[in-house]
Symmetry: C2
Subunit: 168 residues, 2 copies
C-alpha cells in the first residue's frame, strides 16, 4: 500500500518522538521502497556516544543491510529535519533518488539552508527534493525540546546556587 | 611516542593498501590521540555493501567507541584522500580539531576542492587543516587502482566478445 508523503512523514515523526522521550534531539527518519517502510531510525548520539548516529545515517545503513546493496535505488528517504552535511553526503553516497524533509535547519541544513548538496551537478548524484511536509509539527517538536532543555538547565543552576548558599 | 605527520600518514597509507588488496577504492584513515593511533580503517563499501563505510567514517566510529564519547577532542585524523561531504560532515559532528590529508579529490573533495566544509564559520566547528602529506604516494595508489580496474574491464569485454563470436 502506498501512502501519502504526509503519512510517511508521520512515521518519521513518531521516530523523532522516540528520540525526545529519551532526551535525544528529536529527529526521525525512514526509508521507503515500493511503498514499504524498510528502515526507520531516530537520533541516538547521546545514548550511543557516537557522533555519527544521526537518524538518516542509521536508516541508510539499515536499508543497505536489508537490501544487501549500497545503491538504494528506487527508495525515498523521509526525515523530520533538513539533513546536515554528513547526512546529505550519506544520501549522495547511497544514491537515494528522492528526499522529503519536514523543517529547515538554518544552522546546519545542507539541502537548502547553508548548502545545496543534493542538487550540485558537479557531484555524481542529485536528488528530487520535497520540503515542508508536516513542517510545523516537526519544527514545534524541536523547539519544545530545546525550551525544556533550557528550563532544566536553569533549574539545575538555581538548585546549585541554593545548595552553595546553604553550605556557606 | 609522537611521530611526524609523514609517519602517521604512512600508517593511513598502509590502510589504503589493504583496501586496494581486496578490490576496494584505496583510501585509509587513522585517528591519533596523545601520539597514539586509537583507530584505523580503510574503505569497505563493496565488501560490506554499505554506502557509508568510508575509511574516515569507520575510524570516527571506532574512536568514539574506544573513547566512550562522541566529542573526539584533542585528536587528529589522518586520511590519504581529501574527505567527501559525508566524511567532512562526520569530522564536524565529532569535533575533531585537526585533519591531515594526502591528495586532493577534485571530484568530491569537500575540504578545499568543491567545498570548504571544515572552515565555514557558519557551522559550529572548524578544523586546523594540513594537506599534501605523502600527496604523490596517496594519489599514485588511487590512479594505479583505477588504471588496473579499467584494464580489467577492457579485458572482460574482449573475452565476452570472443566468446560471443565463437557461439555464433
Amino acid at each position: 500500500m502506498i501512502l501519502t508523503d504526509e503519512e510517511y512523514m508521520a512515521i518519521a515523526f513518531e521516530e523523532a518522538q522516540k528520540a525526545a522521550e529519551i532526551g535525544e534531539v528529536p529527529i526521525g527518519a525512514i526509508i521507503v521502497y515500493e511503498g514499504e517502510v524498510i528502515a526507520r531510525a531516530h537520533n541516538l548520539r547521546e545514548a550511543t556516544r557516537n557522533a555519527v548516529m544521526h537518524a538518516e545515517l542509521m536508516a541508510i545503513q539499515e536499508a543497505c543491510t536489508i537490501q544487501n546493496r549500497w545503491r538504494l535505488e528506487d527508495t525515498t528517504l523521509y526525515v523530520t529535519l533538513e539533513p546536515c552535511p554528513m547526512c546529505a553526503g550519506a544520501i549522495l553516497q547511497s544514491r537515494i533518488p528522492r528526499v522529503v524533509y519536514g523543517a529547515r535547519d538554518h544552522k546546519a541544513g545542507s539541502v537548502h539552508s547553508l548548502y545545496n548538496l543534493l542538487s550540485d551537478n558537479r557531484l555524481n548524484h542529485e536528488c528530487d527534493i520535497t520540503e515542508g511536509i508536516l513542517q510545523q509539527q516537526c519544527s514545534q517538536l524541536l523547539s519544545d525540546f530545546f525550551k525544556a532543555l533550557r528550563n532544566r538547565k536553569k533549574e539545575e543552576k538555581r538548585l546549585r546556587k541554593l545548595k552553595d548558599s546553604q553550605e556557606e
